[in-house]
Symmetry: C2
Subunit: 598 residues, 2 copies
């Protein structure tokens, strides 16, 4: 059976030693009281919950899956899911970073980030139930009417009710402009919705008393395309004026998908058969309202792969230290045994360190990003709010695509460490790869993320946001440029920054003449940008480690940080050499292929 | 439901136009009669069998899996598997490339290669049943006694009986020197075997009347380690002198593994409880005898991933042409529709072409390799036999690891083309990725393959075999060096050849001082070597296409070949830039990580 130990020390390193989160939060009136002790105490408890309550349900949830009763349309989540969720609600976890005016605890997003990293390590399928709710919460906070807020937010905050995002239809996923679900105005100001949705995660289940579906649909007078989409809140049970649950709204599960992974989460076909809902935000502006959820969800998806990378790594490390097989190429190491533990082999170490580096880089980026989110929401200085928001927008597609692609590489490498045993279900390793696989697809495929990054976030503002991130790198170079010990970490990042700037200008010109040049370069570009960001964060982590060691700190933890950073720059970061080359190879070899793709 | 069209034209292109197989076979007395028409007729029929008989059982086989009856120890393969196998035997397919003296049809391995590519596309799990038998056949042909040949080979040839390879035990897979299964001599010259094997593919099933297990075990006087292992033939049912089946031998299935993929194949725990077997080959020389099977199996595993790459590609192409979603970045293409087919998007093409190029490169390499195998076995000139054998030995780890890793990349890319639908079982795409995943692990993990390549096949003979392959590249350069149109295909290969030669010398020196340098570089080295080989084959395919076009042939097939080759050199081959860099980064960043991996 797999193991999981919450990586508290690694989180605290990023939170306190690298990013000085508590000091940064002091500048935000809403979070000025959140000190390091509070953060540490909360994540310690969160780690216990993940390791003790949801992690033991991960394999059984995968084996059992969800079951739909076709007569009642009710869905049963796997054994133990409901009870674990009740415990989650009981512990107040859904409310962690929710607004106190709706009953939330008002803690910063960075704390919620750490909670969710661990929940995802423990059980991605289970974690998606509360995770999706949080997206619905945020959309209603941003765009809900007072009545909607009053009706839904306290229960979504407490976790007594959960939420969903109903976007996709059978004929449209990426291209929501094509959606057909209809909403007709009723005399009382509500709307009657009709249509079919698919791929609705946590779409139906027995874990909460009510489910608030946020549904995209078209009003009768809607313009064609994506400018004619509106957002509606459609509860499973109508909420009466006194807050009690009324009649069952005809929005129900018509079927469950049989999937490669995340079996414990109900991926529902949702039939909407004249269900009553209320408009969220302005008519025809539903896509904008939905993006509030979507952006939060994209950061959340990166976090899912971070969690899987970490848990896969922990198990592969334990196995590699335990499993004996063959001798070291440099002579026996465990002479008292019939063979050496496989961790003596260079390539086994490479696979382990790949996962470790991607976990540590991913964790640093996720926390870096959520701290920016806290500043965007709560910093008293408008310019800081704006700048933070701009950086979050730039980094969101990188978090989503780079961390999930890395999760694919890492979980597969960790499975490979197990040899044949990695392919067997009971070891749990293959499940991590299967669960991770969806993260590269949903909430906008990784190709869509790359177009969002290069087309919108970079070229869309002439590289202004990228320059803002470049300034952070510049500051680090200025600070440490004369420190010889830092040059192995800083030089590659600075060099890549120069290349990236040049290439960005180049692709901007080429794309102006032929937009397919942007489409052809985007995926490679995103991975280069990802390494630029990871490189910066690894340099900052190495900086802290070098300072501690220079100050006489003998804790091997800091030596470990340097070793991981060195591995990263030697074995993973150089991928950028190929990526720059293939990105530059242009669109002709792709588009001029009608004969080949006939 | 997925589709599959046997790629006959692509096979014929490699067989006849690129490698001139029929002409080459004329030089081999055993195959002098096998002309192009015969080959084409056989593979056409083979394609029908794969597409019509086993392909329809692929998804159902995955859903049902195999079932063990714990009281009888008998295993039932999924519905239809037995009947399909009977049809396979009836059609004489198992005998295709077997020796006529045992009832075989005596066709060359290249024809069998094409048969198996298509069977693997259609249903890898099913194909492993006859595939494993073929390994047992070859081991007995090479090392069996006359009595063993007489008893077992006609039935293995006809396919009435199947065979297995019983190597792995719970505590040893890679490190067979540690195995514990015991064989004790009996008075009648036979041996009584006792032990436990795991991960035995096709280990028990209801598809054939008898199963011949080839089992590795230790004799009582066996030296410790890998020099004390012997090989035994242990039948499920004892074969009486008249050839009829006698009593049940106590070698049975103790359990079936629950796996990530290849559910239709019975991966058995085999309990050997005093079963009677006969020695194959010399005492304590079992590993050498086993390598006859193993090398054949390694080529076979590459072929499995080739098959999956091809079928995944075909389905992704069909979907990309059919699914409409968003508009082309350069303006609407399908103006009569609500959106364009997704094949207009550059990155969708990139994913498709990645799979196509890996299928075409893999097919060329597999056929190139099996033609060498035919020459190794049957060429009248000893030097040709020896040279061919040496090249096959060099290429075997490349076929196994490079093609299976490419299969991982390709099947995942094809699944990604489907977006969310790729994650849903009914589309069949995620099964291709799951089935492919084992190919990177079994018959020696891909790390083991890389050590075999760099340590044994390259450095082990001071690069002599690699130079032999280099001569082929040199000949192509000499032939086409003045042809300007060929330079885009030849120049990168020639340049990589120079880098590879230099790096090989470098790593040889470094490895002499520190063997971990070999272990640290091996995986990257193998992928570089893989691209060197693929690059050569793509250049040869481009050469043929250019000649046809120059001669006025207007068949778009040849234009397609050029487009795929150009894509390959522009977008896949440049991976070597990073691989050379990371291979050179050495072992220190891996081995000097005790703190990081604590």
């Amino acid at each position: 059976m797999p193991i999981y130990n919450p990586p508290l020390r690694d989180m605290q390193f990023v939170l306190h030693e690298v990013l000085h989160v508590a000091e940064e939060l002091k500048a935000l009136p809403a979070h000025a009281e959140t000190d390091a002790e509070t953060i540490n105490a909360v994540i310690e408890e969160a780690g216990k919950f993940a390791a003790e309550v949801t992690f033991p349900l991960n394999i059984s949830g995968d084996e059992e899956g969800c079951v739909l009763d076709k007569t009642t349309h009710e869905v049963k989540a796997p054994k133990g899911f409901k009870e674990a969720y009740a415990q989650f609600v009981e512990g107040g976890w859904p409310a962690l970073s929710c607004d106190p005016q709706f009953g939330g605890q008002g803690l910063p997003f960075v704390v919620n980030q750490c909670l969710y990293e661990m929940l995802n390590s423990a059980n991605q399928a289970w974690t998606m139930y509360p995770g999706l709710s949080h997206g619905a919460y945020e959309a209603l906070v941003a765009h809900g009417t007072d009545a909607q807020k009053k009706t839904y937010l306290p229960k979504l905050t407490s976790g007594e009710w959960t939420g969903t995002m109903c976007l996709t239809e059978p004929h449209c996923g990426t291209d929501l402009g094509m959606l057909r679900t209809k909403a007709e105005p009723m005399a009382d100001g509500n709307y009657k919705l009709t249509g079919n949705k698919i791929f609705i995660s946590a779409g139906e289940h027995d874990m909460a008393a009510n489910i608030i579906h946020l549904v995209l649909a078209r009003l009768p007078d809607a313009p064609k395309g994506s400018k004619g989409i509106s957002l509606f809140a459609v509860p499973k049970f109508i909420v009466k004026d006194d807050g009690s649950l009324g009649e069952r709204n005809p929005i129900y599960c018509g079927g469950l998908e049989h999937k490669m992974g995340i079996h414990g989460n109900a991926t529902a076909q949702i039939v909407i058969d004249g269900a009553v809902g209320s408009l969220v935000g302005q008519p025809h502006k539903g896509l904008a309202a939905m993006f509030v959820m979507m952006n939060a969800a994209r950061l959340g998806v990166g976090n899912q792969s971070l969690g899987l990378t970490e848990v896969a790594y922990q198990n592969a490390l334990a196995y590699a230290r335990d499993r004996i097989q063959m001798r070291s190429l440099t002579g026996p190491k465990a002479k008292d045994k019939d063979a050496d533990p496989i961790i003596v082999h260079p390539d086994v170490r490479k696979m382990l360190l790949t996962a470790k580096a991607y976990a540590e880089g991913g964790r640093a980026l996720q926390i870096f990003c959520t701290l920016l989110l806290d500043k965007e929401h709560h910093h008293p200085d408008e310019k800081v709010r704006k700048d933070s928001g701009e950086l979050v927008a730039l980094l969101t597609p990188i978090v989503k695509a780079f961390i999930t692609d890395n999760g694919h590489i890492a979980t597969n490498a960790c499975m490979q460490v197990f040899g044949g045993h990695g392919f067997i279900k009971e070891w749990g390793m293959e499940q991590f790869t299967r669960d991770n696989r969806i993260n590269m697809i949903y909430e906008g495929t990784n190709t869509i993320q790359s177009l969002d990054l290069l087309g919108r976030k970079v070229l869309g503002n002439n590289g202004a946001s990228l320059k803002k991130f470049g300034k952070l790198v510049g500051a680090l170079v200025a600070e440490e440029g004369v420190n010889e010990k830092m040059s192995e970490f800083i030089t590659p990042v600075a060099m890549l920054g120069e290349q990236l700037t040049k290439f960005t200008t180049e692709i901007g010109f080429k794309g102006f003449q032929n937009p397919d040049e942007v489409g052809a370069a985007a995926v490679d570009y995103l991975r280069v940008a990802g390494h630029f960001v990871f490189g910066y964060l690894f340099a900052r982590m190495a900086q802290v480690a070098l300072r501690e060691i220079a100050a006489g700190n003998t804790d091997p933890f800091y030596v470990a940080k340097l070793q991981t950073a060195r591995f990263y720059f030697a074995k993973l970061f150089p991928e950028t050499a190929t990526l720059m080359r293939t990105a530059r190879a242009g669109s002709k070899v792709l588009m001029d292929t009608d004969a080949a793709l006939a």
